[in-house]
C-alpha cells in the first residue's frame, strides 16, 4: 500500500496502481481518450497528463504507477494548458464534420473540447485528409479515418478482448490511422466492439448510419436475447423503431463488449415478417382473425380434448411468462406434459442440471474465470457464447492461469488456451473417464482413448493441470445435451476434484436466452418451479411427439419455439405435428412450425415487454419495454393470461409481470434473494458483478445421474466425416435469420471441415459442396477451419434452407456424412 497526495488529498492505494486510478479513487476526474481499464495501457493520447511535484515534465497518468509519497497535481495551469494543447493538435487534422457525424452528441472529443479545449483554433493550414468518403470495412462497420485521434482502443480491444486481431495502425506520424490491413474488408467476428470503444466517430455502425442523433434516442435497459450469456444492452429507439443496441461501460458482466448478434441483431424486432395479428386455419389456409376469435377457436377445439397437451419453449420468453405458462398448463389445463426444447436429449436435462450444480445456486462467470484452471468442454464457446469467450481471454491474458479447451472443432479461444484437446464428437464421456483415470494415477483405458480420439499424454496433461490447481472452473456446454453420454463422467470429475479439496465452480454454457430460467420456472415434465420434483411426471418432448404420432395426444401449445426446425429428428416432429387435432403456436414469426399450426398467436420480442430473464450463470436481470409489439401482437404474458381466462375459469385475465415475479420469489424460494438493483444504472453498487442477482440454491437436490449410453456413429463406414451441429456464430435459433443485418453477415448455410481434410479432398473454402448422409443430403458452402479435428464436419442448426436435423434420426446417435464437390 502506498500513500500519495493528489491535489492535496491524501489517498492510500495498492502498489502499482496507476495515478489515474488513484485519482479516481480520490474522486478526482482526469480526462482520457486512450485509457480503458481492461485494456493494456499505451499512453498514446496524452490527454491524461498530470504534474508530479519534483518532475520537470508532465507525465501520462494512465501508464504511470504511483510511488509512495508522490504529490500529484491534476489541475495546475501547466496541466490545463497542456490539455488544451493536446486537444488543439487533435483538432488540427480532425475533420470537424460533426453535423454529419453519427457520434456527434456523445463524442468524447466534443465533450473534452467543450470542457478543456481551446475554443479557438490557430491552424490555418489545410487539414490532412485520409480519404474523401467513408469506407466500408465490413457489412456492419463503416470507417472515417479523418476523425481518428489515434487512441488505438479499437486495435487493442480487437486484439485483447475479441481476439480477432484484424485491426492495426497504418501509416506514420499524422498519417497514422487505425484500420484494417490495407484498408481491406475485415474478416472477423463483426462484433463491433471497435465501434463501441471509439471515442470519436471513426468507427461507426453501418446499419445505424444516419438514422438518428444520440439525443433523439430513447433507451431501455435490456438483456440480449440471443444466447444465455446475459449481456446487458441498452436498446434505443427513435419514433417507436429500435435503431441501436449498445453496451454500457461498467454495466453487466459484458462491460461494454457485445458480439455481432447482440449489437446488430436487434432489428428482427422491426422485421416486416413479424406476425401482427392472430391467424386461424380456415379451409386449409391461415387467415387473420381477432384475438377473441382466436381464443374462441382454441376453446372450441380444446373442449373435446382431454388434458393431454404439451408446452415447449426456449427463446425470448421471460421468467414471468414461463412461470405463468407452466401454471397455465398444470393448473388451468391440468396437463402435466410440459417441456422445453433443450437441444436434442430432453431426458438428460435433469442429469445435466445436477451435474452442473445448477440446483446449488448461481455461479458468477467472473468467479469462474478467476480460477486457476478453466476447463471448457462440450461447448463452442467462441461461437455460442462469444462474450464468455471474451471474458476468458481477457482474464487469462492478465492472470497466471490455465485454460483447457476440449472440443472437436477449432475455435477462437484456442489461441488463449494453454492446452487444446481435439476429441471426436460425442465422446466427452470417454475423454473425461480417461482424465479421471489419469487423475487417480492409473493409465487411461485405451478403449476410451480410442473412442475419444486422443492420446494418453493429452489426458494426463489435463489431469495434471486439474490436479495442480487450487480452484477449477468447469464450463460445460450444450453438447452434453445433444449427446448426453458424458454427463455421468462430468458429475464424477467434479466430485473427484471436490474430493481432492479443490474449489470447483461449474458454469453451464447454454445457447438459448433464458434456458436456465425456463428450467428454474419448472418447464420440465418432472420438475416444478425451483427444481421441486413433481409427484407425477408428465411426458417429455420425445414421448409427447410419440404420443402425437400414435394419436393419443391431440393438442400441442408451442410458445416461442420452432419445434420442427430445432427438434433432433425432423421426421418424427413433422409427422407428429401433422397428426395433431389442435396445434397452437405463439411466436413472433411465421416459422415452419407455425405454418403447420391451427392457431397462430403473435407474441412480442424481448424489447417489447417488461420482466426478468435468467442467464446461464443463474443471474436474474430485468428487461424493460422499449417499444410496443407491432399491430395486434401482445406481450406473451398477456396472451397466456387471456387464453387461460378464456378456456379455464378462475385464471386471472391480466397480471402484472411484477406481481408474477413476486409470486416467483415466494413460490420458488431460489429467487427470493434476487436483487434487481443490479439493473439500475444509477445504482451505486453497480459493478461488473453483482452476486445478489444470482439465484439461490434449491431446497432439494436433484440426484438423478443416469448413465446415458453412448451411441455409435450411424451411417456407412465409407462416409469419412462425423457430423456435429451447433449454432452459427451470427445466428442463434431461427430468429436471427429475420434480422436483416445478421442475415447480411451470413445468409447461406455452411459446412465446416478441418484444413487437413479439405486438402485431402482437394476442396477450398467458399466452394459449394454436397453433404450426403444416410438420411438426407444437401448442398451448401464449404468453410475450412484450421485446427478442427480430422474427420469432423460441422453444420449449423440455424439455417432454414438446410436443416441439420434432417440428417439425424432419433436413437441413431451421431451420423457419418460424405462431402463431395457439387
Amino acid at each position: 500500500m502506498v500513500t500519495v497526495k493528489i491535489n492535496g488529498i491524501e489517498v492510500t492505494v495498492e502498489d502499482n496502481t496507476l495515478i489515474l486510478d488513484a485519482a479516481r479513487q480520490a474522486g478526482i476526474d482526469i480526462p482520457t481518450f486512450c485509457y480503458q481499464a481492461d485494456l493494456m495501457g499505451v499512453g498514446s493520447c496524452r490527454m491524461c497528463i498530470v504534474e508530479i511535484e519534483g518532475q520537470k515534465k508532465l507525465q501520462p497518468s494512465c501508464v504511470t504507477p504511483v510511488l509512495h509519497g508522490m504529490a500529484i497535481n491534476t489541475e495546475t495551469q501547466a496541466v490545463q494548458e497542456a490539455r488544451a494543447g493536446v486537444l488543439e493538435f487533435f483538432l488540427a487534422n480532425h475533420a470537424l464534420d460533426c453535423p454529419v457525424c453519427d457520434k456527434a452528441g456523445e463524442c468524447e472529443l466534443q465533450d473534452m473540447v467543450y470542457r478543456h479545449g481551446p475554443h479557438k483554433g490557430r491552424h490555418a493550414e489545410p487539414k490532412f485528409k485520409f480519404h474523401e468518403k467513408d469506407y466500408i470495412l465490413s457489412p456492419v462497420i463503416v470507417k472515417n479515418s479523418n476523425r481518428c485521434v489515434n487512441c488505438m482502443k479499437c486495435v487493442r480491444v480487437c486484439r485483447e478482448v475479441v481476439g480477432a486481431n484484424v485491426l492495426g495502425a497504418l501509416g506514420r506520424g499524422d498519417h497514422q490511422e487505425a484500420t484494417s490491413f490495407a484498408r481491406g474488408p475485415l474478416d472477423c467476428d463483426h462484433c463491433g466492439n471497435c465501434i463501441e470503444v471509439c471515442p470519436v466517430g471513426c468507427f461507426m455502425r453501418l446499419p445505424y448510419r444516419y438514422k438518428a442523433r444520440p439525443w433523439d434516442l430513447k433507451g431501455a435497459d435490456s438483456v440480449c436475447s440471443y444466447c444465455a450469456t446475459g449481456c446487458r444492452i441498452v436498446l434505443e429507439e427513435r419514433d417507436g423503431v429500435a435503431v441501436r443496441s449498445r453496451a454500457q461501460l461498467g454495466v453487466g458482466i459484458n462491460n461494454e463488449t457485445l458480439c455481432a448478434r447482440g449489437r446488430f441483431g436487434f432489428d428482427y424486432m422491426t422485421s416486416p415478417e413479424r406476425i401482427t395479428t392472430p391467424l386461424i386455419r380456415k379451409s386449409g389456409g391461415l387467415v387473420p382473425a381477432s384475438w377473441e376469435e382466436a381464443f374462441g377457436f382454441i376453446k372450441d377445439a380444446a373442449a373435446s380434448i382431454p388434458p393431454d397437451s404439451i408446452g415447449a419453449q426456449p427463446r425470448g420468453l421471460r421468467n414471468e411468462e414461463t412461470y405463468t405458462f407452466q401454471k397455465l398448463m398444470r393448473e388451468a389445463l391440468g396437463s402435466p406434459n410440459i417441456d422445453s426444447s433443450a437441444r436434442w436429449a430432453h431426458g438428460a436435462v435433469e442429469a445435466f442440471i445436477s451435474a452442473m450444480a445448477m440446483d446449488r445456486g448461481g455461479v458468477s462467470v467472473l468467479d469462474c474465470v478467476k480460477t486457476d484452471t478453466v476447463f471448457v468442454i462440450g461447448a463452442y464457446v467462441s461461437e455460442e457464447n462469444p462474450v464468455t469467450d471474451y471474458l476468458i481471454r481477457r482474464y487469462s491474458a492478465s492472470r497466471n492461469m490455465n485454460v483447457i479447451v476440449a472440443s472437436p472443432r477449432a475455435m477462437k479461444l484456442d489461441s488463449s488456451a494453454n492446452l487444446v484437446v481435439r476429441h471426436m464428437p460425442a465422446s466427452e464421456g470417454a475423454l473425461l473417464e480417461a482424465v479421471l483415470a489419469a487423475m487417480s494415477g492409473q493409465e487411461p483405458d485405451p478403449k476410451a482413448l480410442g473412442q475419444a480420439g486422443i492420446s494418453a499424454d493429452e489426458a494426463k496433461k489435463i489431469a495434471a493441470k486439474l490436479k495442480g490447481s487450487e480452484s477449477v472452473g468447469i464450463m460445460a456446454g450444450t453438447d452434453f445435451l445433444r449427446y448426453p453420454s458424458g454427463i455421468g463422467a462430468l458429475a464424477k470429475i467434479s466430485a473427484a476434484l471436490e474430493g481432492l479439496g479443490k474449489k470447483v465452480l461449474r458454469l453451464p454454457l447454454l445457447d438459448r436466452c433464458n434456458q436456465r430460467g425456463a428450467w428454474e420456472m419448472g418447464v420440465h415434465p418432472a420438475l416444478g418451479p425451483g427444481y421441486s420434483r413433481r409427484e407425477t411426471a408428465g411426458a417429455g418432448t420425445d414421448s409427447m411427439l410419440d404420443a402425437a404420432r400414435a394419436g393419443s395426444l391431440k393438442m400441442l401449445y408451442l410458445a416461442g419455439t420452432d419445434l420442427l426446425a430445432m427438434n433432433g429428428d425432423r421426421g418424427i416432429a413433422g409427422e407428429a405435428l401433422a397428426k395433431l387435432k389442435l396445434l397452437v403456436v405463439q411466436d413472433m414469426f411465421l416459422t415452419e412450425t407455425a405454418k403447420l399450426a391451427h392457431v397462430v398467436l403473435p407474441g412480442a420480442a424481448l424489447g417489447e415487454k417488461d420482466g426478468t430473464v435468467t442467464n446461464q450463470e443463474g443471474r436474474v436481470q430485468a428487461v424493460k419495454r422499449l417499444t410496443r409489439p407491432p399491430g395486434k401482437a401482445m406481450a406473451d404474458l398477456d396472451i397466456m393470461t387471456m387464453l387461460g381466462s378464456a378456456i379455464a375459469t378462475g385464471f386471472p385475465s391480466k397480471i402484472k409481470s411484477a406481481s408474477v415475479f413476486d409470486e416467483i420469489r415466494r413460490e420458488t424460494g431460489i429467487y427470493e434473494t434476487v436483487d434487481l438493483a443490479f439493473n439500475n444504472k444509477k445504482n451505486k453498487g453497480n459493478g461488473h458483478d453483482n452476486k445478489e442477482a444470482l439465484v439461490r440454491a434449491a431446497a432439494a437436490r436433484l440426484e438423478a445421474k443416469p448413465d446415458f449410453k453412448a451411441a455409435a456413429p450411424a451411417g456407412p463406414d465409407s462416409y469419412p466425416f462425423a457430423l456435429v451441429t451447433g449454432n452459427h456464430f451470427f445466428h442463434s435459433g431461427t430468429v436471427s435469420l429475420r434480422s436483416e443485418t445478421l442475415a447480411g453477415l451470413a445468409r447461406e448455410p455452411v459446412v465446416e471441415i478441418g484444413e487437413e481434410d479439405a486438402g485431402k479432398l482437394g476442396l477450398s473454402g467458399g466452394e459449394r459442396v454436397r453433404v450426403r448422409g444416410k438420411n438426407h443430403e444437401a448442398t451448401m458452402l464449404l468453410r475450412v477451419r484450421k485446427g478442427t479435428k480430422k474427420g469432423v464436419a460441422f453444420i449449423p442448426e440455424n439455417f432454414e434452407g438446410a436443416h441439420a436435423n434432417m440428417f439425424f434420426k432419433r436413437g441413431e446417435g451421431i451420423q457419418r456424412v460424405l462431402i463431395e464437390r457439387s
Binding site: 464534420d97 460533426c98 453535423p99 454529419v100 467513408d134 444516419y210 438518428a212 439525443w215 433523439d216
Partner: protein, 190 residues
C-alpha cells in the same frame, strides 16, 4: 406663495378646458390627415426587409445541391419542437454531404418564428424567409414538407425589401393569392 400665479393660471386653463382643446385639436389634425393604412391585399403589399422572419426556406448551394446535412440541430434547438428531420444516406450528389434529409418538415402552426433554427444551422441551409401569407382554409398548410421548402420563395433574395409594391389579389380554385408586382417599389415610412 410663489406658486400663486401659476395656480391661478392652472385654474384658468382648467376652466377654459385648454387641455381638452389641445387634445381635440390633435385628433382633429389626424382626422383630416392622410391615413397610413396599406391597401393590402387589394392594391399594395409590404415587402419585408431581409431580416424578416417568415416561412422557412431551405437553401441550395450554387451547384444546386441541398445544403442541409440533416444534422437535426434545428430540431434540437427548436423551442416549440415544430421541426422534424429524418436523415438518410444518399451519395448521389444531391446534397453537399452524403447525409441528406429524408424528411424535413416544419409545423407552422406551432412555429413561433424565433429563428433559432437559422442560428443553429451549421451549413446555413435553413433560413426564415419572407413569405408571410400562411393562412389557408384547412389544416393542410400548417405543415410544410421539404419539397415545398426547397422551392424559391415569392420574393427573390436579390431584392432588399423594406418597401411597398403594387399587388393584385387573385382568387383561384386553389385558394386566394396576393401577387406582388416587384417592379414598382415605393418607400413608405412605417
Amino acid at each position: 406663495m410663489s406658486k400663486g400665479p401659476s395656480r391661478i393660471a392652472e385654474f384658468i386653463k382648467k376652466a377654459l378646458f385648454l387641455d381638452f382643446v389641445k387634445g381635440l385639436s390633435i385628433t382633429l389634425k389626424y382626422n383630416v390627415s392622410r391615413s397610413i393604412t396599406l391597401k393590402y391585399p387589394d392594391e399594395e403589399k409590404w415587402v419585408p426587409d431581409r431580416r424578416f422572419r417568415g416561412q422557412h426556406t431551405l437553401n441550395k448551394d450554387e451547384n444546386g445541391r441541398e445544403l442541409c446535412v440533416a444534422c437535426e440541430l434545428c430540431v434540437k434547438v427548436c423551442p416549440t419542437k415544430c421541426i422534424t428531420v429524418i436523415p438518410m444516406e444518399d451519395d448521389t450528389g444531391r446534397g453537399i454531404a452524403d447525409r441528406v434529409a429524408k424528411v424535413w418538415k416544419v409545423e407552422l402552426a406551432r412555429c413561433m418564428f424565433c429563428g433559432y433554427c437559422e442560428d443553429a444551422c451549421p451549413t446555413r441551409a435553413v433560413r426564415l424567409g419572407r413569405d408571410y401569407e400562411l393562412a389557408c382554409l384547412d389544416l393542410s398548410c400548417t405543415t410544410r414538407e421539404k419539397d415545398e421548402l426547397l422551392k424559391p420563395q415569392s420574393i427573390p433574395d436579390t431584392i432588399q425589401g423594406g418597401f411597398v409594391v403594387r399587388s393584385s389579389f387573385e382568387r383561384t380554385p386553389e385558394g386566394i393569392r396576393v401577387v406582388p408586382d416587384l417592379r414598382m417599389q415605393k418607400k413608405r415610412n412605417i
